[in-house]
């Protein structure tokens, strides 16, 4: 159950019931993020961000998108989880974007290009990193699970 009073239901969208417009905007952004990334990349990113924010309980939100054993490895330490070099390059960007966004610079984008990402991919990655940092904070503050 959401920590907000007067909200029925315990889901992420339920928590927005006091502000339907905000829920619509959030859902539209989430849909765009998921369209821009494959399921595996979305799951990897979500797990890494959940771990970095101290919210490992949010790994349930991507249950089924990755093998359970791999999901646990990723959330514990993605560097030791056997990810491909391209996935590891993306997770470096995820980590910086989550913990030290003010340190990001053109060289970070160049690293992604060198790993095989095109500029549309990089925009999708940045948007997804930003969205998950938004959504997990909403969920953490209101006592619900992110979608």
């Amino acid at each position: 159950m959401s920590w907000l009073k007067g909200v029925s239901g315990d889901g992420y969208a339920d928590a927005f019931s006091l502000s339907p417009g905000a829920e619509e905007a959030d859902a539209a952004m989430r849909e765009q993020v998921r369209l821009g990334l494959g399921e595996r990349d979305y799951a990897l990113m979500s797990l890494v961000i959940a771990g970095l924010l101290g919210c490992p309980r949010f790994m349930d939100s991507v249950r089924g998108l990755l093998p359970a054993v791999e999901a646990v490895k990723v959330i514990e330490d993605w560097r030791e989880a056997g990810l491909s070099s391209k996935e590891q390059a993306a997770m470096v960007y995820v980590e910086k974007g989550t913990l030290r966004p003010h340190e990001a610079g053109p060289s970070d984008v160049e690293v992604l290009r060198a790993a095989g990402f095109n500029d549309t991919d990089i925009l999708s990655l940045a948007t997804a990193i930003a969205y998950q940092n938004h959504a997990m904070r909403v969920a953490a503050a209101l006592g619900v699970e992110p979608l």
């Binding site: 966004p101 003010h102 948007t127 959504a135």
Partner: protein
Amino acid sequence: MSHGEFLRLQGDSDASEVAKVANNWRTAELDAKERAMLEFSERLTFTPGLMSPDDLDGLRAVGFDEAQILAIVAAAAYRNFVSRIAELLGVDLPDEGYSKELLEVFPSKTATSAVEEAIQ
């Protein structure tokens, strides 16, 4: 938050007061509700994994209702979204039109690092 993004929010507020908030909001002249809101926003930004129902009670105690609390959560989380888009893609707003007091706060650090320093 990138400094251009932050500075765009100053509106009609006194420039030096906004600069204080950007540099270290604890030294700014804010009322109890504003302080509770910023304390909450800081926790949501830096330690979301430690948040609990007590954090919402802290906002209720100073007079915020449930819809206002949701608005604070959504706004603080949204700023975490926008600032990351800006920082990760090198997007910033031009500094033209911003006061000298505000610009002097940021030449060598972002609002994010200023807040990190403030809570150490």
